[in-house]
Amino acid sequence: MMDNFLTSIYNVSRGINSAIGLENCLKMVLDAAVGLLNVDMASVMLVDKSRNELSIRYAKGLNEKIIKEARSVLGSNNPNEVAAWVVQNGEPLLIEDIETDGRFLKRNGKKYSTNSLLSVPLKVRGEVIGVLNVNNKKDKKVFTRDDLGILTTLANEVAIAVYNNKLHDELVSANERLRELDQLKSDFVANVSHELNTPLATSKYLLSVLEKGIPGPVNAKQKEYLVLIQSNIDRLTRLIDNLLNLSRIESGRFELKREPKALEDIVKEAVVTFRAQAASKFINLKISLPKGLPDVYIDHDRIAQVFVNLIANAMKFTPDKGRIIVSAQLLKKNRLADNAVLDFVEVSVEDTGPGISAEDIDKLFVKFQRIPQKLDAAKVKGTGLGLAITKEIVEAHSGRIWIESEQGSGAKFFFTLPVYDEEFFFVEYLDKQIVKASDTKGNVCLLAFDLASIMGFKQRFTPAQFEAVVEQLYKTAKENIRRPTDLVVRQKSKNRILIAADADKAGAAVLIERIVKDLSKKKIKDKDDRQISVAIRAVPLFFPNDGSIAVDLLKKLDMPLGG
């Protein structure tokens, strides 16, 4: 008996903890109750606070009609129903013979069909949330104190299960609400951005038309005012951009869309915005970039914002006839926090403003912080957001930002951006896709096409020809990926083409076939000038079956095929 009891309790308890769902849990408990106590009927009734009544949540040995219709009203001074009495008193009830007890009547005034019954409260944190009832001993015996002990233990398990279930439901609906709010907010941000930007853009374009003297000549004074309006519109635009960016950063929706980009293009784009303003203050705004800088791996719009913020900042503090220089240099082989080694481009924006004291430098990147100005206050305005956001953006790119300055001798802002390294960022990208896939139950597939692994294949070409074939394969792979999120890289050290694709087994098979078919159509000639068709196969690896991080998947590639 005791063994049986412990096993039942253990099973019930394990069931509850493994979150098998309330329904299954209640079934387990009632099965245990019926078996252990040798009864015909068992039921769990729960309190419905809004209706102030008890109803059956789950039962064994009762017909459907009773389960649906049985109600016990709560709140009467002298409850004449067993379950209501237990809830209101918060105590278990053991009745040996209901006729002799005499306190309780059956619903509708009829008599109970049983003589002995047992009912215990379900308590969570001192609050009674329902009852667990058993009646009708099969052997017509009466319930004992031991029976009460067993039922109380089971009741505790039921109470926990019901409570967990309630918490779970609340969590699910709270999450749902949050998701809706988040969507609302992101729609709002998109709308506001559109609504605010359009009138600003119209004004900006018309001002530019006036300034260029297109409708007619403008005199010097008019031109000065036009430039002033222009720079105020730009300031308003930046303010809006920064506020919208901040709202995105704070809602955690700060996802970078990184691509290899030439730094020069972005710098030029940013500088052009300030040309008129610089001219009006006779500031020499210069770009000084070394030739042949490699592409950086950045989110174009975000880094454009970094440049705009830093140049705007320099512009604010540089006096008339001052100088602002945007320059850059390549830093080779920087060690990152995770020990990876990567080249960076170090960019600097240098001004001839009043400079910043050492203690103020620390406050610079803090949100809404503004340095008390010794300068003409009217000249220097801002939300105090620009630099905080700039820092967030740079750091999201694994870059660093810092300032070198001395009071009285200008300031030089530095930041670093990673140089694009296809293989390095492929790993990062693959990991990102894996994280995304584990949230959304999506697919991540890693495909590798390795021409050098085909027996005797490489030997049929001159090195230059082989190089061209690998390049051809690279191009073919790029042409055949379907989704914008799929990424193809050429692993230089291994002459291997890697693809990170959002594909399941079937999708991967289709992709491989398309690439192989497409490649076989290309006119490839070997060193004896014979046209050959390339037959290559790829083994797809999947998350999570073949590995749960990018590095594991990649490692698996280097194992012998079929191993």
Partner: protein
Amino acid sequence: MQKKKILIVEDEKDFVIAISALLEAEEYEITAATDGLEGLEKIKAHHYDLIIMDVMMPKMDGYKLSRMVKFDAKYAHTPIIMLTAKAQDQDRRTGEECGADAYVLKSQNPDVLLSKVKELIKK
């Protein structure tokens, strides 16, 4: 020499006036359409050297219009500039997927648009 023809598809009438003023001064001939559908009809009926289009427009948005132009061999060679306020992460990529040759933000300096126009018409 004949003037190069540019079609502007944009529902904000004031903004159309502004872009037209800027581009007409550079000796381009400007035609305007106020929604995506009208834009498509004009593209089918006339030859243009360049199309500038907004993204958020009534009847047919810029993404769809761009796809329809770029996937029709008859017009696919016409360069498209998306000129939009949509600066969100995904927008630029979507624009490029839909075949836009350049993606310019309305908040950028008008000279950025001007230089893209010159670059794309020269090609």
